[in-house]
């Protein structure tokens, strides 16, 4: 079926110039001779951690290299003709017509000053594929197919007037509008909340099926790609690890690396017995200055010493605000926070040195949580100086102890954050928190910016440290797999309220309230056909109601 072969990439080599800090620029090879074949109407999932080259390979299907990336070797044949060496005029004809692209961040990709309809049909018009009226009819049809509200009038809105999930679907409509042969989906649901992700995923899957378009689906989440792809290619360090039918990859992976990816997020943590709380939050209500509504409404939760309370919810649920209230960055308007037997001052300025020392924080983005101009030694050593007055050799020794504790070993103290990998950065942040010898560490989405395998490593490290140092974690997350892996108690938050709260085994067992049920059932499972089951189940339930 040679004529069915849409995309045929052979021996693809991609190079780029890298600029390591403090060193001369050097040439690096991102992709080492990868082959990709895609039949018409099929969906190929490209999966791997960051730096695997999945986006770079995906974009090469339209002969595009992002920011200084060069396609230096191999052949890329699309619809039977070579495009790697094609000139700009030929590429212009092909991009947006035969191949289209859906990016991760729809919010950053739409022009905020133009209405959605104009942007959705723009490429279709500029390629002269249809007249304006015809293109608009097609766009409305796509809006309907993608389940957007009020498809006839949806295009009249501006990007800021619709939600993130709707915007991502509008972008999918944009990509499908010119009737392309191939669509490249680059992490289209990664930036979305888990309850939104499932709808977008279902919409994308249905649209792909109905339009018979071929697709490259790029993601780091194997459970997501298992729902949409016919075949999956596992990539690592710019090389192909394994290629196979989705069923085979999920159920019978051949390579060790693939097995590790499949078994990721299966950590289970046995909850500890209830104990007296180290942190007690009673009826806390808070709002940001200049706004007219409470972001936290009468929140009451306890956290036992040496245990973990997971605060779960989607974006805007108030979980990070709760952390700000505990740390004193946002003084609550009502309520009381008791820590280690003493009532905490609502405001940061009213807290004692011990209050500050005993509550530490780890952030989601380790990149911005460390001063790029300070070495790891300074970053970890500063709390030692400030709280314990350690200096010189004593301080350096303790810093090294802490680095050993986070499994980083020698030679890291002199490095700058830019010279560390994502996982190492987060470990340094953990070491900085530990340096203060705290009773409570607030972990704000600490694993959500990391690759699954690295995130697993961080979670294991946190569990070990908890056992050693008897520190309590307030663990803020939107990911229920993480919750299973680490929590003793769970508080489910929605719109500033605690919807459900209790021991992990109680919260994660029926009967659920509606929101907890929605949240729990939205987490993608490593199972082919999971998406259809959930959607069918929800349809039945709503029909029943």
């Amino acid at each position: 079926m040679a004529e069915d072969l849409l995309l045929d990439i052979r021996g693809l080599v991609i190079e780029a110039t890298s600029y390591p800090p403090g060193e001369p620029p050097k040439e690096v090879t991102l992709v080492h001779g990868v082959d990709v074949q895609l039949q018409r109407g099929r969906v190929l999932g490209l999966i791997g951690e960051s730096g695997a080259g999945k986006s770079t390979i995906g974009l090469s299907a339209m002969a595009y290299g992002r920011g200084g990336v060069r396609l230096t070797g191999g052949t890329i044949r699309l619809n039977g003709r070579e495009i790697r060496t094609a000139g700009p005029a030929e590429l212009r004809k092909l991009r947006g017509r035969e191949v289209t692209y859906v990016s991760q961040s729809a919010a950053a990709s739409f022009n905020p000053a133009k209405r959605l309809m104009d942007q959705v049909i723009e490429t279709t018009l500029s390629h002269g594929l249809m007249g304006r009226a015809e293109a608009e009819v097609r766009a409305v049809g796509l809006f309907r197919k993608l389940g957007l509200p009020g498809p006839e009038t949806f295009g009249q809105r501006f990007p800021h007037q619709v939600s993130g999930g709707q915007l991502q679907r509008a972008m999918t409509a944009m990509a499908l509008c010119p009737k392309p042969d191939l669509v490249i989906f680059d992490e289209p649901t990664t930036a979305l909340d888990v309850t939104t992700q499932i709808d977008v995923l279902a919409a994308i899957k249905e649209a792909i099926r109905d339009t018979h378009v071929a697709a490259l689906y790029i993601t780091h989440d194997l459970a997501v790609v298992a729902q949409v792809a016919d075949e999956i290619m596992v990539l690592r360090h710019g090389r192909r690890v394994e290629l196979g039918e989705t069923e085979q990859i999920i159920h019978a992976p051949r390579e060790a690396y693939t097995r590790a990816l499949v078994s990721v997020r299966s950590l289970e943590h046995v909850e500890k017995a209830p104990a007296p709380p180290v942190l007690k939050i009673e009826g806390v209500t808070a709002r940001y200055r200049g706004t007219g509504f409470d972001v936290l409404k009468n929140v009451s939760v306890d956290l036992p010493a040496g245990q973990t309370l997971a605060v779960v919810g989607e974006s805007g649920s108030g979980k990070s605000t709760l952390a700000r209230a505990i740390t004193g960055l946002l003084p609550p308007s009502k309520g009381r926070i008791t820590f280690a037997g003493r009532t905490l001052s609502a405001d940061l300025s009213g807290r004692t040195k011990d209050d500050l020392r005993e509550i530490q924080m780890i952030y989601q983005m380790a990149d911005t949580a460390m001063n790029p101009r300070q070495t790891v030694g300074t970053i970890v050593g500063r709390p030692l100086e400030l709280y314990f007055g350690m200096k010189g050799a004593e301080r350096d020794r303790r810093v090294q102890d802490l680095l050993d504790q986070i499994e980083m070993g020698k030679g890291f103290a002199q490095r700058y954050p830019a010279e560390l990998s994502g996982g190492q950065k987060q470990r340094v942040c953990i070491a900085r928190a530990l340096a203060a010898d705290p009773k409570l560490i607030i972990c704000d989405e600490v694993t959500s910016a990391l690759d699954p395998l690295v995130a697993d490593g961080i979670l294991k490290l946190l569990l070990n440290l908890q056992a050693e140092a008897h520190v309590a974690y307030l663990f803020i997350t939107h990911d229920l797999a993480t919750v299973r892996a680490i929590a003793d108690k769970i508080a489910v938050m929605y719109k500033g309220e605690v919807r459900r709260y209790g021991q992990k085994s109680d919260v994660l067992a029926p009967p659920y309230d509606d929101y907890t049920d929605l949240l729990l059932s939205s987490v993608p499972e490593m199972e082919v056909g999971w998406l259809e089951q959930v959607i069918a189940h929800r349809k039945m339930e709503s029909a029943g109601n």
């Binding site: 110039t17 600029y19 001369p24 620029p25 920011g67 200084g68 740390t327 004193g328 960055l329 940061l348 807290r351 040195k353 500050l356 020392r357 509550i359 924080m361 952030y363 983005m365 911005t368 949580a369 460390m370 001063n371 790029p372 101009r373 300070q374 500063r382 709390p383 400030l386 900085r432 203060a436």
Partner: protein
């Protein structure tokens, strides 16, 4: 690290200007105020750039004048940077009323053209180098304040600054250890720009007669002394004017390079 040709040229010329300014006493062929030739002689082997309105060697006066021009400009830019960045950082870190009061004072100062304020102040105050530097430095610090505040605002919302506050660090640590090192690159690039404006400003003031007073001289003053020669086709006034332009361009080339280097660092991709 490769330095582009334009930046190399800028560095070389700026270096030359600084060198001649520092060692003026040894380099200048004639004293600053001795009439050694005829009036408005053209360039020759004896007087490389010709002579001025009363027969003084223009090259020597350019070298001595450069010393004063560069010294005053440098001193006032340093002053404006000290003031501007300190208050700019303070406004960004403290926010609230501190920010409001400082920012409105700066708005007020910027609402009046700085040349007019300078002219008024210099006509009232005694005319000497210290007063000149103070007036220029304070007036220019408003621009630096704006930049420093904007840069520090971006840095102040970073998690590592929040982490420092949560750790219980004092304001001094937050400003000097967390914010300053990260704000330095854009400020250094801006320093080149402000220095050039200071050169132009002192030249303007001297041209108007309110800057450097005789027997000292600077480039702006030299343009003023020789401007009448232009009517008779004597190019003496063009020499200091060209020196001002050349200094401005060479410092700009360096500042440009610093700016692109730092912004490419921020983008993380270089190139």
């Amino acid at each position: 690290m490769r330095i582009p040709a334009s930046a190399l040229l800028g560095l070389a010329l700026t270096g030359l200007f600084l060198f001649t300014a520092i060692f003026a006493q040894w380099i200048a062929p004639y004293p600053i105020d001795a009439a050694v030739g005829g009036v408005w002689e053209g360039p020759s082997a004896t007087f490389w750039l010709g002579t001025d309105t009363i027969g003084r060697d223009i090259l020597s006066r350019l070298i001595y004048g450069g010393q004063i021009t560069i010294f005053v400009a440098l001193a006032s830019s340093l002053l404006s940077f000290g003031l501007g960045s300190f208050f700019g950082f303070l406004a960004a870190v403290r926010g609230g009323w501190t920010d409001q009061i400082l920012s409105r004072i700066v708005d007020l100062m910027m609402a009046i053209p700085s040349l007019i304020v300078a002219l008024v102040m210099l006509s009232v105050l005694p005319l000497n180098l210290t007063v000149l530097i103070l007036v220029m430095g304070v007036l220019d610090s408003t621009r630096v304040f704006r930049l420093a505040r904007a840069v520090a605002m971006d840095i102040a919302v970073m998690d590592y600054v929040e982490a420092a506050k949560l750790r219980g660090e004092k304001q001094g640590w937050v400003i000097f250890r967390e914010i300053l090192p990260n704000a330095l690159s854009p400020l250094v690039a801006e320093f080149g720009m402000r220095f050039i404006f200071a050169v132009l400003f002192i030249s303007t003031l001297s041209f108007l007669g309110l800057g450097i007073q005789p027997p000292l001289t600077d480039w702006g003053g030299m343009v003023k002394e020789n401007k009448d020669g232009l009517i008779y086709g004597k190019g003496a006034a063009l020499m200091p004017a060209a020196a001002i332009a050349l200094l401005a361009i060479s410092v700009n080339l360096v500042a440009d390079w610093v700016l692109t280097r730092t912004s490419s660092l921020k983008g993380g991709r270089g190139g």
